[in-house]
Subunit: 221 residues, 2 copies
DNA sequence: TTTTACATTTTTGAATGCAAAATTTGGGAT
DNA sequence: ATCCCAAATTTTGCATTCAAAAATGTAAAA
C-alpha cells in the first residue's frame, strides 16, 4: 500500500531532522521526491499530524512539529509513566529467555560505556527499554510508547552527557536489570521513574541549547 | 476546516455505536450522509485509523475497530498506567481550587450512587478521572488519555455493576480523593492502579458478553 | 521614502476521473 | 442440486482538476 509507505518515509525524513522542527513541509517538493501525487501525501501528513509529528495550519500548510521545552518535559513524563508501567507488567510476564536477552544487551551496553562510545551506548540503552516494553506483552502500550519516543527521539540524542550522569545512568541500569531478574515489579517501577527523571533533567538542558540553535538557524535562513 | 469536522463526526458515529465494532464503513454511504466527497472522508478515516478507532484493510475498505478481549485488557492496563501517572503528577501541581472542584464532583457522584443512578454515576466518575488528568497539567498525557479512553468507552458503559463492586468503587474513590487532598502522589498512584484493576475485571466480563452479542448480531445481519 | 491598496502568483483544500483490485453474479460441469 | 470458474459490477486507491485562500509583488499616494 502506497500511503502506508509514505507515512513511514516522511516519518523517517522528520526523525532524521532533514526537515527541521518548525520548518514548512513543501507538498509539491515532497511529491516530486517521493514520486507520488498530492492525495496520498496529504493523507500521510494527516496521519502524522494525529501522531503529533506534524502540525497542520488551516490554509497555511503543514510544518514539522516544533516542540517547546514544556512539550518535551510533558512527553518525557509520559514516557516515564509508560516505561514504569511496562516494567511492572513485564515482571509479571517476562520469560527467563527474555531476561537473558536483556542481560546480554545490558552487558553490551556497559561495554560501549567502558569504550566511551556514546552513540552505541544510546542504541543499546534504547534497545533495552524497548525490550522491556515488548516484554510487557501489551501491543497497545508498545504502540503508544513507540509514538511518544518517536517524538522525543531527536532530543534524546543531542543530550550532553557528563561523565557523572553517564555513570549514574549505568548504575541505574544495573538496578533495573536486577529488579527485572528478581521480578520485582514495584521496585522496578520505582527505579524506572527515577531513571527517566534523571534523563529528563539532562534533556531539559539540551532542550534549551537546541532551542537557541534553532532560533539562530531560523534567523540565518 | 472540513476534514477536521469530519473526523469528529465520524468519531461520534463510531463511539455512539451507530456503526458497530467490526462492521464495514461504507464510503459511498457516509459521503452522501455527510454531504462531502470521498477525499476528506478518506483523510478522516486514516486519522481515525491512526487513533485506533478504525482498521484499514488494503483494497478491502475500512471497518470500525473490533477489539478483542486481549485488546481491551491491554488498553485498560495502559489507561491504568496513565491515570496513575496523572495522579502522581497532579499531587505535585494541583491547586486547592481544583481539589475542591474534584471534591464537589465526588460528592455529586456519591449522591448518584445513593440514588442508584448508574448512568449519572458513570458520568461523574469519568469527570473525576478527567479532572485528575487535567490537573496533571500535561497536555501530551491528556491527549493520550483521551485517545485511550475513547477506544474503551463503549465497553466501560456496558459493565454490569454488582452492588458489591459498586460499593467497592465508591470506597476506592473516597481513598483517591483523600490521597489527593493529602497530595500523597505515591499513595494515589497505588490506589489508582488497584482501582482500575478492579474495573478491568468488571469490563473483561462485560467484554465476553458483548462479544457474544456482536457475534449474534453479525450472524443475524 | 514609506505605506497602503490592488493585482498576480502560489499554495492549499476538496471534487472528480480513472485504473486496479475485490466482491458479486451467472453459467456450466459434475 | 451443488460446486467451481469466469465475467460483470462494485469498491478501493491514486492522479488530476477545479475553486478558494493566502502570500507576494507592484504601483500609487501620502
Amino acid at each position: 500500500m502506497l500511503h502506508e509507505d509514505v507515512v513511514g518515509r516522511i516519518r523517517a525524513i522528520l526523525l532524521d531532522g532533514e526537515i527541521p522542527p518548525g520548518a514548512r513541509i513543501p507538498e509539491r517538493e515532497l511529491c516530486e521526491r517521493l514520486q507520488i501525487s498530492r492525495t496520498p501525501l496529504r493523507e500521510a501528513l494527516k496521519v502524522l499530524a494525529a501522531e503529533g509529528l506534524v502540525q497542520l495550519l488551516p490554509h497555511r500548510g503543514s510544518r514539522a512539529a516544533k516542540l517547546t521545552d514544556k512539550d518535551m518535559r510533558d512527553l518525557f513524563e509520559v514516557c516515564q509513566g509508560l516505561e514504569a508501567l511496562a516494567g511492572e507488567l513485564a515482571c509479571e510476564r517476562i520469560s527467563d529467555a527474555e531476561i537473558g536477552a536483556i542481560g546480554t544487551a545490558h552487558d553490551e551496553m556497559v561495554r560501549h560505556y567502558r569504550e566511551g562510545d556514546l552513540i552505541q551506548y544510546y542504541r543499546g540503552n534504547r534497545a533495552i527499554h524497548e525490550a522491556i516494553v515488548a516484554a510487557a506483552g501489551n501491543p497497545a502500550l508498545t504502540g503508544l510508547y513507540a509514538s511518544v519516543t518517536a517524538r522525543i527521539r531527536r532530543a534524546r540524542y543531542v543530550t550532553p552527557m557528563t561523565p557523572q550522569r553517564w555513570a549514574l545512568a549505568v548504575k541505574e541500569h544495573e538496578a533495573i536489570l536486577n529488579a527485572l531478574q528478581r521480578r520485582d515489579g514495584a521496585g522496578l517501577s520505582h527505579i524506572l521513574r527515577a531513571h527517566l527523571r534523571h534523563k529528563r533533567e539532562e534533556v531539559l538542558q539540551a532542550g534549551f541549547a537546541e532551542t537557541e540553535a534553532n532560533d539562530l538557524g531560523l534567523r540565518i535562513a
